[in-house]
Subunit: 335 residues, 2 copies
């Protein structure tokens, strides 16, 4: 590896002159610059980034943590983030947490040790204290999920509003026994979505019996599957179903097909998110479409903007909430 010192020796100048010439410092004469640049080129000189970073140069890498890329929802997020970052000349370092705080911590360590300039995180329900400490040591934003320990910068969707909308649609269609398949309230998003369901029912004066509210782990299709089986086995099964996560929806859809449930005749279903294929599932899935691409892109740009502003620029707590949109297809009908 050729170093600046080698180049300096070759042209008979000092290392600092070489450094300045290559960074186009105005104090260096054009003749010298030309000589240095030519030498550097022929010698195949490439600046050592590690050394630069030791001098405090900030990296051009942004870290991203998502729960699971094999989940189309998060893959789309990663895609949008990647697009926004690279088109602004940033690199992306990626980690999947699998919703496991220990894996999340491992990534956080890796990121800090790799000296990333900032991080965009979809946090797990309870990040390890060390994770919090590590992330807090660098500029970061929370995406989709929000935990109190991390900095109060958050880009997410209106979870309560989305599920409320879905539930209200079913209520308006005349349904009274409406099942809810969602995530545990550990995750703020899980709690918020359940709230949307309960609020909509309460507003309409409809009870929400426990047997109709099925909660499970966040990224699990199995929970969706099991929930369908449980609901169908009830003495008085629901006439409609609201799902409150992408994976839950997936599981529900598969299981409904397996049980050959007549949708929407016997059961109306509203999904969460809008994944490829859902438009052709059975009669077409009525669902809450989420503007996750814009959300992710905006989030990335916000972070880059903050980085550009410098570490001193004190930023007040900030949150941006996007709304979902009900897409009507064939899986719901009035009764």
């Amino acid at each position: 590896m050729t170093t600046a010192r080698d180049v300096a020796a070759a042209v008979g100048l000092s290392v600092s002159t070489v450094g300045r010439a290559l960074s186009d410092d105005p104090r260096i004469s054009d003749a010298t610059k030309a000589r240095v640049i030519a030498a550097a080129e022929t010698m195949g000189y490439v600046a050592n980034r590690a050394a630069r970073m030791m001098r405090g140069a900030s990296s051009d890498v942004i870290a991203v943590i998502v729960p699971d890329l094999s989940n189309g929802f998060y893959a789309t997020i990663a895609h949008a983030l990647s697009g926004a970052l690279t088109s602004n000349n940033w690199q992306l370092m990626l980690g999947e947490s699998a919703d496991d705080p220990r894996i999340e911590r491992r990534h956080a360590r890796g990121f800090v040790s790799a000296q990333v300039a900032g991080a965009i995180v979809v946090p797990t329900a309870r990040p390890a204290p060390e994770t919090v400490q590590l992330l807090t040591s660098l500029p970061h934003v929370q995406l989709l999920r929000r935990v109190g320990q991390l900095k109060p910068y958050w880009f997410g969707i209106d979870d309560t509003g989305a599920i409320r909308q879905a539930t209200e649609h079913l209520i308006t269609s005349g349904h009274r026994r409406i099942g809810f398949v969602g995530g545990t309230p550990d995750l703020p998003t899980g709690a918020a979505r359940q709230r949307g369901y309960r609020e909509a029912l309460a507003d309409a004066g409809i009870p929400a019996p426990d047997e109709l509210v099925l909660l499970g782990p966040p990224l699990s299709m199995d929970h969706g599957r099991a929930a369908v089986a449980r609901l169908l086995a009830l003495q008085d099964p629901p006439t409609a179903l609201v799902t409150a996560s992408v994976q839950a929806t997936r599981g529900v859809l598969e299981e409904l097909l397996r049980h050959e449930v007549a949708v929407p005749q016997d059961l109306s279903v509203v999904g969460f998110g809008d994944e490829p294929g859902w438009s052709w599932w059975g009669p077409g899935l009525t669902t809450i479409a989420l503007p996750i691409q814009q959300l992710a892109a905006t989030c990335a740009l916000w972070l880059l903007d903050r980085l550009a502003a410098g570490p001193d620029a004190h930023t007040a707590a900030y949150s941006s909430v996007s709304s979902g949109e009900l897409v009507l297809r064939g899986s719901t009908r009035g009764i």
Copy 2:
């Protein structure tokens, strides 16, 4: 950022002792080690990678280039790579090329400047010369696609065999007019898949008229859509269809629904890959399932192994070919 010096000050020892304690040097007493480790933990100490690299340590980052994460196929690949890398304590730096050599080059530059230890690449059809030069300067493997300019290490699928299998299945079922919707032969994979189609037909003594062979850009759903429209408009439309890329399949499936084509009564269809939802598309999609998870994981492990072997270990050209598997569902039938 907490440094080793900070930790040393906290425990009243020297930097070198701290360094040794953390690297489990046998010369340090267990008591001291414990003290240092405890302090490092509470203080959130993470070794500065840049400094380590200046001392000759290689980075723990592997670069990955895929065409497009919003494509479930590549998202799965990224997921598998990420799993294999992080479980071996490597970080992943990710770039999406969008199949554009210029974007690919930008990523290659970023990777080299970020001093990644190696790269896993799904290359574009014609990488820029600079990209080739940059990638060649570091250990790398090609995944799925293979271009001659890069090093001859490749993990991919038997494209020809996969499509041949799909085509033969249709021939065996009695079909004679079989359409082919695939990618341009620019990409070796596109060429190989088309070969599989032609070979199967040739073996059965069936002609492959140009009007039935529709080629388009690799990552385009639109091509799949347009192809369906074109084929249906033919005077003598095909009775069966082979698709030769995931995105083409997606487009075809959507368009068939839009045109309300009776599958498999009027048209048999074999897809490429097996994405979520394809099992419930119409009568269930008969398709070629690809072992991309294992493929990606194996590829990552191979690269890590080579890195562990050191830069001197000369490796002979290597390629690993995985086969697809025909999954029979409802979208094909005999005539």
